[in-house]
């Protein structure tokens, strides 16, 4: 973990986030409120533009009355907490076997061509950070990426570049499969289970 919070003011939950945090704490027994460390870190990460600073670790530790090292253990264990600042569009590209076979390498190249940076880097304009992740469980629609909270599936380099361009303009492209599919059904129409209650 490096760097400190970009804000000069000490980190505190906003009023809205405080409500969310308190709600998260109520999900656990009163004497087990420390179990809420994960949701609280997530809420704090979202408030802090996508990353967890030392300040946040200390704040959450104090909030839940637990040793700061225990919070840091959780924050470093789970890959979904970012311990360094990330750009507004946080791209997680899947390069596990199914996506790789379906062309994730081309997506990385497309990203590099568009944003000018590669895996583990942030573009110079500060619009994109890309990291490599393991399987996100959307293999039926591979290759795919996750950008912030949304999945973009059935990608080709062209479709991916279009998404990146839309994001750069400040708009949010429609998530989900970018092909003609709406889910993970066969592209050429159903080949089995073609009727409801039928004989096949």
């Amino acid at each position: 973990m490096s760097g400190t919070s970009t804000s000069k003011r000490p980190f505190v939950f906003t009023a809205d986030n405080k409500v969310l945090a308190e709600a998260a704490i109520t999900h656990y027994p009163a004497d087990r409120s420390r179990s809420a460390v994960m949701p609280l870190l997530d809420i704090a990460q979202r408030q802090n533009r996508g990353w967890v600073s030392h300040e946040i670790v200390e704040y959450v530790a104090e909030y839940l009355d637990m040793p700061v090292i225990r919070v840091l253990e959780v924050a470093t264990f789970y890959s979904m907490y970012n311990l360094k600042p990330v750009a507004k569009n946080f791209v997680q590209i899947c390069r596990t076997t199914p996506c790789w076979l379906r062309g994730s390498d081309d997506l990385v190249k497309a990203f590099r061509d568009f944003a000018g940076c590669g895996i583990g880097e942030t573009s110079t304009d500060g619009a994109f950070t890309m990291i490599e992740v393991e399987c996100l469980g959307a293999c039926c629609n591979s290759p795919m990426v996750q950008i912030n909270d949304d999945y973009y599936e059935d990608l080709t380099p062209e479709r991916f570049t279009k998404i990146l361009r839309t994001l750069k303009e400040g708009k949010t492209p429609d998530p989900g499969p970018q092909s003609t599919r709406s889910g993970s059904e066969p592209v050429g129409g159903l080949t089995s289970l073609t009727s409801v209650g039928g004989d096949d």
Binding site: H54, M66, P67, I69, R70, L72, T76, F77
Partner: protein, 687 residues
């Protein structure tokens, strides 16, 4: 009591035991790294695999509860192969740097790799490297060697009570670290050096000093606090290189405090290695005869009533008895072993002991601390209190300054008024004590070492009686001493005789010129400016406060250099043994007094250590019972009287600098600077 069959041998394991412990009961060695009987089970090193009948694969015996009818095999081909496999994995990232590793020769991984590992590696990739972490002035880290057993994490969290180190990251990237590499703040932190099964955490002050097989080992006891932890003193040649704990379930288990472990470098600095006599303004080297002659001259010119003696905090019983006998022969009643002026009553043994015993404190369910900070005064007692809270849910109340003790306490108030209010039932904590099954109180020197100490002792006794702390099988009235010599001194009656003066009165008399000679036996914790024109004889081992004021210095032996009898705060008589000879011309302390008595014409009646010890037994039979704590009889003590208004002040501000040895220690000075926020003081070189 589940019954297991282990390699064909039937074993009854205690309830709650693990398969690993059952195997050990059956006399089978099961290799392991992460398992430690005093820590929670982690089950992550996988070295303890054994075969269990009807289990499809080997089981981790440390994490498997022993069950009725289990059939375990610990030395089948499968088990051997599994261990070899685990060892191969452990060695994938462990460097093969044993020749330059401080753990070499006492390393679990090294030993077990020889016994259970393969003889070659199949791993050709690069090993991972981990940056070393800072953990303070005591613990050296070489984190590449870490095998992630997490013993250090569990010890600091569970036993020491400071959650300061953890395992960050995971898998290939897991690293042990403190938060932002801050120093550990526990007084017990260095025990993780012993716990670490590899060379990842080693001793910083002892780094590259010696190999274990070069050391001469002496089993002794610690004197730097009143707990009397069992220690092993490792020496090479004439210098003590390190102190490590010995197992003693009833005193220190297998832990020792950082001061006990690391103050030993103070034994090589600021030592008094020959007699000195003051000539004019200057202390000049002298022979023993000259020094004795100077003392003899003064004593001959004086009268017993104008001679006083004060025994210090590190004194052994033998020398204190010799001092008492000598003073008796000189006709002086002015004798005291309570440098801090503690108003303890030497007549009733129960009034000055930790009656519940150190191990017994674990079972207390409500504890009242009065003017004491056990964390700094006796970290090993504090550990028991922490366990009483952690495992027994004990409620702990504090009268006096409430410092962070590593467990939650209820701060009741600052001083005597709180104590009175508590006794009168105006504070609810009295009910807590009354309702408790095993209530206890701990009276510290912060409450006793003041002019109204005797009255406070009486109030504490009243509270003990009022809340039912004394019963047939439990005595919860406890005094926590800070000086290793104190209980031994009280047992030997090193207190003023008829018409005699105690320490504050001796100081007053000396200031007013009513005292000709003051004999300091290792006494350094008193205000040396108050001796006025008195002739001060200092017998001790360090050039500390006493030696600076002295007119004659007689060089004595430190605790690692002599046979000594010490009685710890619970009344346990223990023997210290020499690891090295005294430095220079220094001698064992009782021998100095014996030789001096001859010069003075009052020859003491003992010539051998056996003679002195017999005399000690004659003076008090407790000295015949080595390592036994006998129950002290509950009898009236304390003097009811007016209580002062001042709040209690704790006796120890800086845990790391409490006595002549730790004040001379470079390591302790570094700890004080870094951890107590103290300034380096009292190494003696700066006056």
């Amino acid at each position: 009591m589940p019954k297991l069959t282990i390699d064909g041998v039937e074993v009854d394991a205690p309830d709650g035991a693990t398969v690993l412990q059952a195997c050990q009961l059956a006399g089978k060695e099961v290799p392991h790294f992460c398992f430690h009987e005093r820590l929670s089970v982690a089950g992550n090193c996988r070295m303890c695999l054994v075969e269990m009948e009807r289990a499809p694969k080997p089981i981790a015996s440390c994490a498997m509860p022993a069950g009725e009818g289990m059939v375990i095999t610990t030395d089948s081909d499968t088990v051997r192969q599994a261990r070899r496999g685990v060892m191969e994995f452990l060695l994938i990232n462990h460097p093969l740097d044993c020749p330059i590793c401080d753990q070499g020769g006492e390393c679990d991984l090294q030993d077990q790799a020889v016994a259970y590992g393969g003889d070659r590696t199949r791993y050709e990739e690069n090993k991972r490297a981990v940056t070393d972490k800072s953990m303070g002035p005591l613990v050296n880290t070489v984190m590449t060697r870490c095998i992630h057993c997490t013993r250090c994490v569990r010890f600091t969290t569970e036993i020491a009570g400071v959650s300061e180190i953890g395992m960050l990251g995971r898998g290939e990237h897991a690293e042990i670290s403190s938060y932002l590499e801050r120093s550990l703040t526990s007084e017990l932190s260095a025990n993780i050096i012993d716990l670490c099964p590899v060379g990842a955490l080693t001793s910083k002050p002892y780094a590259f000093a010696a190999r274990p097989w070069e050391l001469k080992k002496a089993e002794s006891v610690d004197v730097l606090d009143a707990v009397g932890a069992s220690i092993r003193v490792d020496a090479r040649g004439a210098s003590v290189l390190r102190v490590v704990p010995r197992l003693h379930e009833n005193v220190n288990e297998e832990w020792i405090s950082d001061k006990t472990r690391f103050a030993c470098d103070g034994l090589r600095r600021q030592r008094l290695d020959q007699p000195y006599v003051r000539r004019g303004e200057k202390l000049e080297p002298a022979t023993w005869d000259e020094a004795f002659g100077a003392i003899g001259e003064r004593i001959a010119a004086s009268d017993g009533k104008r001679i006083a003696a004060i025994a210090g905090d590190l004194c052994d019983g033998e020398s204190m008895l010799a001092l008492k006998d000598l003073m008796g022969k000189l006709g002086s009643p002015h004798l005291d072993c309570r440098q801090d002026g503690a108003k303890v009553d030497a007549n009733v043994r129960a009034s000055y002991l930790l009656n519940s015993s150190i191990a017994g404190l674990e079972t207390a369910d409500a504890v009242l601390l009065i003017g004491t900070d056990p964390r700094r005064e006796a970290p090993l007692v504090n550990l028991r209190l922490r366990r009483a809270w952690l495992e027994g849910g004990a409620e702990i109340g504090v009268v006096g300054p409430a410092r962070d003790l590593n467990y939650p306490v209820t701060a009741l108030g600052a001083g005597t008024d709180t104590l009175t209010a508590l006794k009168d039932g105006k504070i609810a904590f009295l009910e807590t004590l009354k309702n408790a099954e095993r209530p206890a109180l701990i009276l510290g020197m912060g409450a006793l070492a003041r002019s109204d100490g005797a009255a406070i002792l009486a109030v504490a006794r009243e509270i003990a009686d009022l809340t039912g702390m004394i019963s047939a099988d439990w005595n919860g009235f406890n005094v926590l001493h800070t000086a290793a010599a104190r209980v031994g001194g009280l047992d030997l009656g090193i207190v003023p005789g008829a018409g005699g003066k105690d320490v504050p009165s001796i100081l007053d008399a000396a200031t007013n010129g009513e005292m000709d000679i003051v004999y300091l036996l290792g006494a350094d914790e008193i205000d040396m400016s108050r001796f006025g024109d008195a002739f001060v004889v200092y017998q001790g081992h360090h050039g500390d406060a006493g030696a600076h004021r002295a007119d004659v210095i007689l060089p004595g032996a430190a605790y690692t250099e002599k046979h000594g009898t010490y009685v710890n705060t619970e009344g346990r008589v223990q023997l210290g043994r020499p690891a090295v000879p005294p430095v220079g011309e220094a001698k064992e302390d009782w021998k100095i007094l014996r030789a001096l008595s001859d010069v003075l014409g009052h020859k003491l009646p003992y010539d051998t250590l056996g003679d002195v010890r017999s005399a000690m037994v004659a003076a008090n039979p407790v000295f015949d019972e080595i390592d036994i704590v006998s129950k002290a009889e509950w009898a009236p003590f304390g003097t009811a009287g007016a209580l002062g208004e001042a709040a209690f002040e704790l006796p120890i501000d800086d845990f790391y600098l409490t006595d002549p040895i730790s004040r001379a220690s470079v390591t302790m000075a570094a700890c004080s600077r870094e951890l107590s926020g103290g300034t380096e003081k009292g190494t003696g070189t700066n006056g």
